[in-house]
């Protein structure tokens, strides 16, 4: 199925390259909507979150209502419906990591950055959070910085990694 050109293609909130990539994803699925999660990943890669305008355009592309896009965005932890810090730093605090000091590491990083989990540094550089199991249980404690895992950490190494983020 090929979608009709969108009405808002002129002043698009979604870039033309992203749109083309979304069309390529749609072609892989027997039902158009199957490509909604891939499309959300693609749109979010543009500016780090999914804006209401982008959600409306996605709804047009997928021939669903904007609220159906937003209910998917809000269900999944990795989709964001508001502007984000330049980097996400997540400390895994599930059991295997906690057994190896993850909560102490998180406390050190809170102190280092001057923010609590769920908060962003004043310069908008880092949002600190904790996350559930990331599949790095033997390499604990660990942090996820955006898409990259940093494993077998101590506080010194973790702070160095954070300080290196632009």
């Amino acid at each position: 199925m090929v979608s009709a050109p969108s009405r808002s293609a002129g002043g698009a909130a979604i870039g033309s390259e992203t749109r083309a990539a979304i069309e390529r994803e749609i072609a892989k699925y027997p039902v158009k909507r199957g490509a909604l999660l891939p499309a959300l990943h693609l749109v979010q890669a543009e500016q780090g979150w999914i804006s209401p305008d982008q959600a409306r355009e996605l709804a047009e592309i997928f021939e669903i209502r904007p609220v159906e896009v937003m209910e998917v965005v809000s269900f999944y932890n990795m989709f964001y419906d508001r502007p984000q810090a330049r980097h996400h730093v997540y400390v895994c605090t599930n059991l295997p990591c906690s057994l190896r000091g993850a909560r102490l590491l998180l406390a050190e990083l809170e102190h280092h950055l001057g923010v609590k989990p769920g908060e962003t540094t004043k310069d908008g550089r880092i949002a600190l959070g904790h996350e559930e199991c990331l599949g790095a249980c033997a390499y604990a404690p660990m942090i996820r910085v955006d898409e990259t895992y940093h494993e077998n950490l101590d506080a010194v190494k973790a702070k160095q990694i954070l300080d290196g983020l632009k």
């Binding site: 959300l40 990795m78 494993e151």
Partner: protein, 432 residues
């Protein structure tokens, strides 16, 4: 630093230290895709299903369902397109085996998928990789592209006329999408809320079509079974649980990591001989044997073969083979706090028993840990857990109840001591 090849390797992982094994040429050099050639050129789909049935392969994603039987549920001669789904949404706390299977052996997985596709007549496989697994997803996509360009996937595979396409989809951070029908909803671009069953996926699966969902590791065993035969596979492991699995050992051990060993390997051998025991000469207090959903075993029960027929006698299960070891300093109420928080956070919210029950269990164990619990709280926990079992659309609610029941079964005195003293009596335990 980070993901390392297993300390003990076997047929699944013996080449994982070699980066070339991730490439198509490197994989073929080790005999890769020979089993797929044999299946597609010399065997009928039914013969393949029968071979996997005869091998006794059980799903490695947690439930342990016989794979060959699952494949045979796919309707033969269906007019509708049929699909396979590879569940690579590995999120069960304590589990990290699929990560290395995806990252270091993507062609082994694709060969297993291709054989499964032939056996079930599926035209497409969707590989659903958890969103956080960016590098594993990159490796699998690279392997899909490579295999498609070289005629191992796509149209006219290996000159046989068989067509099969593999599509990789990335999840976006929801544990519940590891439940197979939650995964199917997510694959359809929806919230990952599990479906009522029946109908089962073999009748009404992805996009309403007949579908079989298998775990990553499950697919990876298949090429080896076809290459060396069902009898060879049955000769590994126990009578009822054949084959190797990749155990993940974490927590308080000297050598946390992955260990590929036969099913039926004793839990104490895994912890002490392989993983080096507990650091600092401390003793083991408890072990979760198969990912966080599985009830804990106390130190006195570690002499158990790691296979469901033996673990069930001790009221737990193999699950994903994620072994979490806790030493004698560990406060089991804190363990309950971490576990119940996880399930509260990840409940999809569809069913009342689960949505409310996970929250209440977390509240009650938190207040016990704070020293504000009362004597009735222990029975309250058991009451809530009991009402969460067998009452919901999917097994998540049971999986949330079982570990709390297990902790109270074996470590009730830890909970009682908190209530009695009005504080946590384990000052050296891991921090919350």
């Amino acid at each position: 630093m980070g993901l390392e090849a297993p300390y003990v390797t076997g047929y699944l992982s013996e080449h994982f230290a070699d980066p070339a094994f991730g490439t198509l040429d490197g994989y073929v050099a080790k005999g890769g895709y020979e089993a797929a050639k044999k299946a597609l050129r010399e065997m009928s789909p039914t013969q393949v299903v029968d071979e996997v049935k005869a091998a006794g392969l059980q799903g490695r994603g947690g439930a342990g369902f016989p794979t060959g039987q699952k494949w045979s549920f796919m309707p033969a001669g269906s007019e509708k397109p049929k699909y396979l789904v590879c569940n690579a949404d590995e999120s069960e706390p304590g589990s990290f085996k699929d990560r290395i299977l995806l990252e270091r052996g993507p062609h082994q997985l694709l060969e297993g998928i291709l054989i499964g596709a032939w056996a079930t007549g599926a035209e497409k496989t969707f590989v659903y990789v958890r969103g956080e697994y960016a590098e594993p997803a990159r490796q699998v996509q690279r392997a899909i592209d490579e295999a498609t360009a070289r005629g191992f996937l796509g149209a006219n595979i290996l000159g046989t006329g068989f067509r099969h396409d593999v599509v990789l989809m990335r999840g976006a951070g929801a544990y519940i999408c590891g439940e197979e029908t939650g995964l199917l909803e997510s694959l359809e671009g929806k919230k990952g809320q599990p479906r009522k069953k029946p109908p089962f996926p073999a009748q009404y699966g992805a996009f309403g079509m007949p579908t079989t969902v298998n775990n990553v590791e499950t697919f990876c065993h298949v090429p080896h079974i076809l290459r060396r035969g069902a009898a060879w596979f049955k000769g590994i492991g126990t009578d009822k649980s054949p084959g190797n699995t990749i155990f993940g050992v974490s927590g308080h051990v000297v050598r946390p990591g992955l260990y590929e060993l036969p099913l039926g390997t004793k839990l104490d051998a895994l912890i002490f001989e392989h993983a080096g025991g507990v650091p600092g000469g401390r003793k083991v207090k408890g072990v979760i044997p198969g990912g966080m959903s599985m009830p804990i075993l106390p130190a006195g029960m570690l002499d158990v073969p790691m296979a469901n027929e033996f673990l069930r006698e001790r009221k737990t299960m193999l699950g994903t083979g994620g072994v979490m070891v806790m030493d004698e300093t560990t406060c089991m109420v804190r363990v309950a706090c971490v576990i119940s928080y996880f399930f509260r956070d990840e409940s999809c919210g569809q069913c009342t028993q689960c949505r409310e029950g996970t929250g209440w269990m977390n509240k009650v164990v938190n207040r016990i840990e704070r020293g504000a619990g009362n004597p009735d709280d222990l029975d309250l926990l058991l009451d809530v857990a009991g009402k969460m079992e067998g009452a919901t659309i999917c097994a998540f609610s049971d999986a949330a109840a079982w570990p709390i029941q297990g902790l109270l079964r074996h470590f009730r005195e830890d909970f009682e001591a908190h209530v009695k003293l009005g504080r946590c009596p384990f000052p050296e335990s891991f921090a919350l």
